[in-house]
């Protein structure tokens, strides 16, 4: 079937949605539910970051800061200025996208790793502002009193409600990303990744395409950020530092470059893993590092790449087993 990825995508989405819906009944207690919520929020950022890094080949070291910028924006607007939660969320996402757009104007004209450098600097500056603008952000001890998410007069009180909301948004964002990849924009991104010259030669505006995908991926991080702020009702600078930006990149690579489901798998895996390692108090970090190294050695294409290779190998074995019975 030619270019028939649409049907496959829908089946995968339906499967994932079913898994998300069933998960609460498979979990032993509510603590895991809150871990999954955080994992899904990370998955949203990582899907966006994978569009930028895995598909378009551009590195951002500032996605943690975009996440934080959106979280703080809605936190300040709703808690300190009495904005409705919906308006605060919209403002958070919009501001994040606008800032990404501003960053892209000077940097994307330059060749090489200018985007990585610019976003690195941006992330550090944002982190300093979170820490130092105490009057607005509350400083290093964090910002408290953020209202719980309320949309259309409905407050998402319980974790279970919030879980379904976040799961639903994640499915929607994954769907949108899959659609985008199979479009002229998605092909332009992938073309730029392999050969900018050839992309230009068929009429792709390289700067424009890079800018679009950078702003979109910042908006993904922004959406996750506002959902984070109104879930925990508390934000602190330490959640949005350089370390988190790097962790997001590790999630992309570990999950699998250029794969939406890889992004989800990488984010969930690396968010849940520390929770399980907590039992090994003294060697926790050591184990975490060792697992990462093992992953890079044995599944260099990431979880998604490894899974598809395994699938192909199984199919091949199945085919080989069937062949002797053929007439």
């Amino acid at each position: 079937m030619t270019a028939g990825r649409g049907a496959g995508n829908l089946a995968a989405l339906a499967g994932f949605a079913a898994l998300v819906a069933a998960a609460p009944w498979l979990l032993p207690n509510d603590y895991y539910l809150s871990t999954l919520i955080l994992a899904f929020l990370n998955a949203m950022i990582v899907i966006g970051l994978n569009l930028l890094l895995g598909y378009a080949g551009q590195i951002s070291l500032g996605h943690g800061a975009f996440y934080g910028l959106a979280a703080y924006t809605t936190a300040v607007l709703t808690a300190a200025h009495g904005w409705p939660v919906g308006a605060g969320c919209a403002a958070g996402v919009a501001l994040t996208a606008a800032v990404a757009y501003l960053i892209s104007i000077p940097t994307l004209k330059l060749a090489g790793n200018s985007l990585a450098m610019a976003t690195l600097g941006f992330g550090l500056i944002v982190h300093i502002v979170f820490n130092e603008a105490i009057a607005i952000t509350g400083g290093p001890s964090g910002f408290v009193g953020i209202p719980r998410l309320a949309l259309f007069g409905r407050v998402f009180e319980s974790d279970l409600e919030y879980y379904f909301l976040v799961g639903g948004v994640l499915v929607l964002l994954a769907w949108a990303a899959l659609n985008l990849i199979d479009s002229r924009v998605g092909r332009a991104m992938r073309a730029i990744h392999t050969s900018e010259r050839a992309a230009e030669a068929v009429g792709i505006d390289i700067t424009g395409a890079k800018r679009f995908i950078f702003v979109l991926s910042a908006a993904y991080a922004g959406l996750a950020g506002v959902l984070y702020a109104h879930y925990l009702c508390f934000v602190a600078p330490s959640s949005f530092g350089f370390h988190f930006s790097v962790t997001l990149i590790v999630m992309v690579v570990l999950g699998g470059m250029a794969s939406v489901w890889g992004a989800v798998a990488g984010a969930v895996f690396l968010t849940v893993l520390p929770e399980f390692l907590r039992a090994f108090e003294d060697v926790e970090t050591l184990l975490y590092g060792a697992i990462l190294v093992l992953c890079v050695v044995f599944v260099p294409q990431g979880i998604a790449g490894g899974a598809s290779r395994l699938g192909r190998a199984l199919l091949a074995r199945l085919g080989a087993a069937r062949r002797p019975h053929a007439p």
Binding site: T2, A3, S183, A198, V202, G203, I204
Partner: protein
């Protein structure tokens, strides 16, 4: 009277640092023709293609397509205006399937906003369907119809060449610039390529400019040949005229017979 040229280059000068790669080069390409640019290595042939497509900065000179000056436009805008090129070393998008490569070629005439793609609107689906049909059509045109869903990286060298051609003609260019399309092909493949270039001109109505070292190919399919030497125009004429031109023979072909 000669018809208005489709492409008109005047006094193109390109410098790389202190080296002058092209000096006051002129080139006219008649609509519907196959025009070849030949010359010894380092004559500036590929640089001229770069100057025409906007990928190489010119120090001076003008490029006009169908009477409209496009000298100031960036490369992607010139591609949208109808000038599409292929590359000497293959530039296939190896991270896509064969048909996706060709669909990328449709970039300039598939129209819907990015938001329509994100939300999979009817317009997006309609345009994607049209783009896919067009791409499959072009793939069949170059003889790769059976390989649509193969990852492009898995194609053989000659097939990747054909794929690059399919991607280029999928853009519906008015002018197609081919940079040594026969490099690395064997004799049978080169002959098939010659026939394909003719069909691109005859069936698709695309004007072709060819930079090529394979003299058999150049002499059999060209309507007009322009000879470059040391970054300057040396001669211009039909294949027969060029073969007899003593200056060309001396500068380029050597003293032996062709």
């Amino acid at each position: 009277m000669r018809p208005e040229p489709l492409l008109r280059c005047r006094e193109i000068t390109v410098r790389f640092g202190g080296v002058t790669a092209l000096a006051d080069v002129a080139l006219d390409v008649r609509p519907g023709s196959i025009t070849s640019i030949i010359g010894p290595n380092g004559a500036g042939k590929t640089t001229l293609l770069g100057a025409i497509t906007g990928m190489v900065r010119t120090a001076s000179g003008s490029v006009a397509l169908a009477g409209r000056d496009i000298s100031a436009r960036p490369a992607h805008a010139r591609a949208r205006a109808g000038i599409v090129r292929t590359f000497q070393n293959l530039e296939v998008f190896t991270n896509m399937t064969v048909v996706e490569n060709v669909m990328t070629g449709c970039h300039r005439h598939v129209r819907y906003p990015a938001l329509a793609a994100l939300l999979r609107t009817p317009r997006y689906r309609r345009e994607e369907r049209r783009c896919l049909d067009h791409a499959l059509d072009r793939l069949a045109f170059v003889g790769l119809g059976e390989l649509a869903d193969t990852p492009a990286a898995e194609l053989a060298f000659g097939q990747q060449r054909a794929l690059e051609l399919a991607r280029a003609v999928a853009a519906n260019p008015s002018l197609l610039l081919l940079d040594e399309p026969a490099a690395g092909l064997n004799m049978a493949e080169t002959r098939a390529l010659g026939a394909l270039i003719r069909r691109i001109r005859d069936d698709l109505g695309v004007t072709v400019v060819l930079v090529e070292h394979d003299m058999d190919l150049v002499m059999t399919i060209s309507d007009e040949i322009m000879v470059l030497n040391h970054g300057c125009n040396l001669a211009l004429g039909t294949p027969r005229q060029i073969q007899k031109n003593p200056e060309v023979v001396r500068a380029y072909l050597g003293d032996d017979d062709l």
